[in-house]
Symmetry: C2
């Protein structure tokens, strides 16, 4: 949306601290740094990218901490992961229009045939400067098998 101001970041961080306390998460300087880095950008950075940025002013932070912390935040809903299925490339020979639902536990992917997903209108405003190739709707949830385990 609009640019992220310093004021907004401060607000986000104090809200983050409150939410952490409510969730029983200990508030550490590493966690604040990681959250701050992520809340200060709309670039959807990777773990490595966040790590490198923090390194500049917090040279002995551990990469492991960044990985672990982002996972913790994500599980608690403090942040979100853009790409649920980031572990490995997954392929499909079925070229007819359809979409997918993924189980966030076991990473199983199943087909979804729903016309309302395959016929979305995409406005020029939405496209921005991109030359569009396509789009996909990815539902995520927990499958029957994983719920019963």
């Amino acid at each position: 949306m609009s640019d992220i101001t310093g004021e907004m970041i401060k607000d986000r961080i104090s809200e983050f601290i409150d939410r952490s306390k409510n969730l029983g998460l200990k508030v550490t300087p590493q966690r604040i740094a990681i959250y701050k880095e992520l809340a200060s950008t709309d670039q959807h950075p990777s773990t490595e990218t966040i790590y490198k940025k923090i390194k500049d002013y917090y040279p002995n932070i551990s990469l492991t901490t960044v990985y672990r912390t982002l996972e913790t935040f994500e599980k608690l809903g403090l942040i979100s992961v853009v790409n649920v299925l980031y572990n490995a490339a997954r392929y499909d020979a079925n070229l007819e229009p359809h979409n997918h639902i993924v189980c966030t536990e076991c990473k199983r992917v199943e087909d979804v045939y729903d016309d309302s997903f395959t016929t979305l209108d995409i406005s020029d405003k939405t496209l921005g400067d991109y030359q569009i190739k396509g789009y996909s709707v990815l539902l995520n949830g927990i499958c029957k098998d994983c719920r019963s385990n």
Copy 2:
């Protein structure tokens, strides 16, 4: 949709061979095996999974070949990759409803605010046995920078 029958697979493979020839791709037993494996399932397998299956009856196929071949097929549109953004986890601290557009060249991710994407109706039929957590619309294309390079 429905189950994949042996007849359907044969059809898909001969169509695949035709398309390969038209595209100037050499038709090798490895390529046929890889395509066949993928066309015979609706499980959206990873490279490793396909490799292991083929190993059973084609023991000296190389994992590298499977990687390379799937990439080739995908670039030519013979198959598709379910998860464009599979290289590394990407995070977002912005929890307000929005979606994303990704550049398939440089993997940059940008926010998309489009109400028609954030208010999709999800039918029970679509959900199947899943306990839904959410969904995302991911547009993909080529950004301005990558087009000009």
